[in-house]
């Protein structure tokens, strides 16, 4: 039996009947299984199917039917986007020849080279690509656990968590307090928490101008710090109180039942609390046995894991060197990986790895900033080659153009990922 797109796109019930056999039989074509249909996984699946022109059997395992991008989810909080603007289906990938299976991968047998799915089947692979994104480190924030994510949302995986945080923001009493517990390094999207502070401030300035924002941060400094601080002073004067490591920002506990946050011994009653805990690779990477500590170490030339040459890890879950954990990075790594995997399986030409990243952030209406760099593969790691960052004091025209660029990038990358 082959993994046919029609059969797999159906419901999981239909899938169970189609796949009554516990193991899908091998056939002539080389098989790649991709776990996780986000920035890394969707891109890898799409490029493999597209560039091999049907020569590789590509299966994408992704539980959700709609992928909500974390990128631009802060703009949704700020009121610049609707939730449906950031939701994308997998129809384009299926049309491009990828077998899209909506299920969870629950285990990897590296000796047998199979991935087992929650639905009960196991899918064989010649090459396995994992791009599961992040999970949270247990006990990272005193008092917080996944069971508290409804009271104190993380909204660091987009979708229902983003909607929940937005609803809480809208329901804040006049002059209320919005608290954020920021994560330690390394974590997904280094400017993400601070773009979020900006977007929350933008929303509050318009709807609840006497409200306050407190940020408890375990770090002494953060990405694009001077740009954000300049923006907060210009647009949201007196609204944002950032408490860094030096002032006890790392010494935090929360009480989700009482809705209190205690920073360096001082307890505050808050109305909304956005807890963004320390992160680690999505759990399937650990289950596959390719992690070392919290992340999966990979070889820079092709994103194969140090643990297993036939298992690749992309995006946030990988420990690769200098690239920040971003959607742009994951997409860039996926293309290098797809080129190498296709070469290994079909003998096509493998070109040298080139990586790049740019992260745009929105501070206020038409006030966009960006940071970016290019990278290359060295024997040790993905190493930075060259980079740039927006400057403080730039003209309003330039900031507006930068924001418009980010809109163009969003359309570009989502099309590049999902077809």
């Amino acid at each position: 039996m082959t993994l046919n797109r029609r059969q797999f796109i159906g419901t999981s019930a239909a899938m169970a009947t189609v796949l009554s056999a516990p193991m899908v039989k091998a056939q002539g074509k080389p098989r790649v299984v991709v776990v996780g249909g986000g920035a890394g996984g969707a891109t890898a699946a799409r490029y493999l199917a597209k560039d091999s022109k049907g020569g590789i059997d590509v299966t994408l395992v992704e539980p959700t039917r709609k992928y909500y991008t974390c990128f631009f989810s802060n703009l949704y909080l700020g009121g610049f986007k609707e939730i449906e603007d950031i939701g994308h289906t997998y129809g384009g990938l299926a049309a491009g020849g990828v077998n899209v299976v909506h299920d969870w991968a629950v285990g990897v047998d590296r000796a047998a080279k199979t991935v087992s799915l929650a639905g009960g089947v196991s899918v064989p692979y010649d090459k396995l690509i994992l791009s599961p994104g992040i999970d949270f480190v247990d006990g990272a924030v005193d008092g917080w656990g996944l069971s508290a994510q409804n009271a104190m949302p993380h909204a660091y995986k987009a979708g229902s968590q983003s909607e929940l945080l937005k609803a809480q923001l809208q329901a804040m009493p006049e002059g209320g307090v919005f608290a954020m517990v920021a994560p330690p390094n390394p974590y997904r999207c280094p400017p993400g928490p601070y773009e979020r502070v900006s977007m929350v401030a933008h929303f509050l300035k318009q709807n609840n101008p006497t409200a306050k924002i407190i940020v408890a941060d375990p770090k002494p400094k953060f990405s694009k710090m001077s740009l954000f601080q300049e923006g907060w002073a210009n647009h949201y004067e007196g609204m944002v109180d950032w408490i860094g490591e030096d002032f006890g920002g790392g010494n935090v506990s929360v009480d989700p039942a009482a809705m209190t946050v205690t920073i360096d011994g001082e307890e505050t009653k808050v109305d909304v609390c956005n807890v963004i805990p320390a992160m680690k690779a999505g759990r399937i990477a650990e289950l596959a046995g390719v992690t070392d500590g919290n992340w999966a170490p990979v070889n820079a030339a092709d994103m194969s894991t140090k643990a297993d040459a036939d298992v690749y890890v992309l995006g946030d879950a990988a420990s690769q060197g200098d690239m920040p954990k971003s959607g742009y990075s994951a997409n860039s790594q996926a293309k290098v990986c797809a080129n190498a995997v296709r070469g290994a399986l079909t003998g096509s030409k493998v070109f040298p790895a080139k990586f790049a990243n740019t992260c745009w952030s929105l501070i206020a209406s038409n006030d966009g900033v960006k940071v970016g760099a290019t990278y290359e593969a060295t024997p040790e790691k993905i190493a930075k080659v060259d980079g740039f960052i927006s400057q403080t004091g730039e003209s309003a025209d330039l900031r507006k153009a930068t924001y418009e660029e980010s809109e163009g990038w969003y359309t570009g990358i989502t099309t590049d990922m999902l077809g």
Partner: protein
Amino acid sequence: MRLFGIIFVIAAVAISSAAVADDFGDPAAGEQVYRQCKSCHQVGDGAKHRIGPHLNGIFGRQAASHDGFRYSKALSRAGTSGLEWHADTLDAFLENPKAIASGTRMSFPGLKKPKDRLDLIAYLRAFSDNPANIPEADPTASPTDHDIDPAILALKGDPEYGEYLSSECTTCHQTSGGDDGIPSIVLWPEEDFVLAMHAYKNKKRSHPVMQMMAGRLNAEEIAALAAYFAGLEE
């Protein structure tokens, strides 16, 4: 060996375009050259926008910054990302307008002789606010030849390599040709593409992301990209 030659040329171009002017043009000769501009541009007392914007006070001005003139998207973008008119940038633009702003509506092939550009710039200099002869004012001259070595333009790119490299471009630029916020790059003539990429590489074009991306591509890689994009079907 050929590759070595190319790299050398690129280095030479980069250095010379940054060099400080030491040679001044002849405004009288420039007035003769200016005849070619007259059908579209006015300069001097009472000059108004015509097909092109008037050229009074152009030195030190951000590109595409007259309120009353409708510029191409390409030139407006170049302006917001930092292009200002000085002797060196005017020189590069006048040599080949499309190398600096590919979609500019200034349909003028360019002045190929460095001396013509030098003279024209000296002539235009007289219509800008600061006298040309005070030291802190904009220098009038920058007699360099920015032309890309014909050997670079003649390189035949490998479209397969170009396709792989293009995946770096398509993170932002849409292959559908959509151009909201980020310009379209499909179906360009190969030569325009190569000129534009080398202009970023040599930092004559001002966008930081593009300077960075083009900066690490060698001449053969740029040729490969040009070959691939030129052959894309819409």
